[in-house]
Subunit: 355 residues, 2 copies
């Protein structure tokens, strides 16, 4: 704890007093930064970059050099676990992630093993250790994983999908088979996140990118139940400090109460929920992270500042808010616009934390 | 009124007693039907099909020949209004709708006129008249339009978009300019829908496909406010019978109370909201239409039947429910699976309407 120079992010997640609202951005290490594009070019493919701990560390730190961000997030991909399970992840230009060997039947699912993080995902753990060392206590490091449901959709479809034809087909037709896949994934994600904490991650986030495509009933049974299992199995303390856990279901604004019931520390919010309403709904059970529409960053710095002010005002006084976009920053956003957002958060939030 | 042989759909929208829950499907006249694909082939392009009243009538009636559906919906596209405004709509294979002349500045928006439906959109009105005549009172005919916000996004982007970069950029940076476009579109949609009623439409639906991509504040100001204006300006009675109006914001499950406040007759629900919860929230102010996950139709007829039963049970006893998918039927769904859904709705709903 003593080595952390800026702990606003961790304090806000624990709803402890802060001087200003902390801020980071999903995909803050990404294509909108020319220095990221240069490193990516040097690395080769996207996965080459993820698998090289030195370069993954380099891109993780790039946005911190530019902006006074309050947290760093491990540079990696949510699909490292299925790749380590043997599905053969690759990225085809303009089409997103693909698997050479999607899983679509009982035999394929039964054959999957739970990866040993320090062996099968060693490159991720090495990246965590390298980044933590290079951060040298500047800000906390966030580790992450995809949710079991989200990973399962990619593993079954073999690629991104608009319709979820195969994955939802399996869910509706062979629920027991889907549960056996999700069961394995929950175990794998728990071990993976705990290994990240052992390697140096100081907070954890579970990205449930596709939970919001489910009906409430299916969300509870096929996504939330497995995030619950993960929350229950996580190491929640390291170096004498709590390791907060953030759950983020994109499109999950109707289910915040259920998500808070898992015992996680914070909820990620996309921009379709008013953060003040969300705070009233979850009370003091969890902190909230969000929730600027990422498209706001296409607008002028003045418009960005106004929108930041509205979100801060809606959340209101006191700690428990980590400012973020409601989704990853788009690749065509000018970096100066991100700078305007970050500056506005730190400046405009101070009155809400004055005692 | 006397000429309508099956008025379950209209009665349910007015929350009047029915013998069974009525059902129709968004995109029921569409690519999942081989007979549709044959007519489409004969017509040429998708817009050629829309612009030919006889063929538009033919495809509108096709699903009614196969299934005991309780409503027909005009076969057309939501982008007919911008096309009539001079933007030059065309469809490029696999890429969806495009405009030759998108509108991106004050001059382009000021130059837009409000189309005269009987002149500039005559082919739509002719299709409505033809379909109404050919239906011969079998079931009611639904007319429809896109919402102003939804139309504006296509008009500004010039195509489908994942990021809404230009349209949201305009909304954030030049709200007055965006409002002047939405203002014109609200007037155009109102006239267009009223002309459809004059031509024979017996219920109306406004598709707000992209309202759910907005923050609550922006939704109210840039989408809902203009749907309110439309509801206020619509002809609500024809042939001595009420013409019910359905508002559907995809992803709008968090805003049902606000939508019900517009004075519309019914709300469309996507599948991310539990319909029983939605009913409790809106009370007896509006009927509800929905809300089976369209992916359910990839599953077996038994699984479909079970899911239909769950939705009917969640809605509970009494009228006020029109069964539908939560979004358009996917092109690769086997028609027998749609049949299983429709049969299950009619069979399983009767106990909920017994007196």
């Amino acid at each position: 704890m003593s080595d952390l120079k800026n702990d606003r992010f961790l304090r806000a997640l624990m709803r402890q007093p802060v001087d200003a609202t902390p801020v980071w951005m999903m995909r803050q290490a990404g294509r909108y930064l020319p220095e990221y594009r240069a490193t990516r070019e040097k690395a080769g493919s996207f996965m080459d970059l993820c698998m090289n701990p030195e370069l993954a560390c380099e891109v993780t730190l790039q946005p911190l050099e530019r902006f006074p961000l309050d947290a760093a997030i491990l540079f990696s991909d949510i699909l490292t676990i299925p790749d380590a399970m043997g599905l053969g992840l690759y990225f085809s230009e303009g089409e997103g992630p693909r698997f050479k060997r999607p899983v679509r039947d009982r035999a394929a699912i039964d054959a999957l093993g739970v990866p040993d993080p320090e062996q099968d995902l060693r490159y991720v753990m090495d990246a965590v250790r390298t980044i933590r060392r290079e951060l040298n206590g500047r800000v906390p490091l966030i580790g992450f994983s995809g949710s079991p449901w989200t990973l399962a959709t990619y593993m079954i479809e073999g690629s991104s999908t608009k319709t979820f034809a195969r994955s939802k087909g399996m869910m509706f037709d062979e629920p027991a088979l889907m549960h056996s896949l999700l069961d394995k994934l929950a175990a794998a994600v728990t071990e993976y996140l705990n290994a990240q904490v052992a390697a140096g991650a100081q907070a954890l986030m579970v990205f449930d990118t596709w939970g919001g495509t489910l009906s409430p009933r299916d969300y509870k049974a096929f996504s939330l139940a497995y995030m619950q299992r993960i929350v229950d199995g996580l190491t929640r303390e390291a170096d004498g400090r709590k390791v907060p856990v953030i759950l983020f279901t994109k499109g999950g604004g109707q289910w915040l109460e259920l998500m808070a019931d898992t015992g996680c520390d914070a909820l990620g919010l996309d921009w379709t929920t008013d953060i003040g309403d969300a705070r009233a709904r979850v009370g003091d059970r969890v902190a909230l992270q969000g929730n600027l529409d990422p498209c706001t960053l296409y607008a002028s710095p003045q418009a960005i500042r106004r929108s930041v002010g509205e979100i801060l005002a809606s959340y209101g006084k006191g700690s428990g808010h980590v400012f973020n976009l409601g989704h990853g920053i788009h690749p065509t956003i000018p970096p100066e616009h991100a700078a305007a957002m970050i500056e506005a958060v730190h400046e405009l939030s101070r009155p809400y934390h004055a005692t």
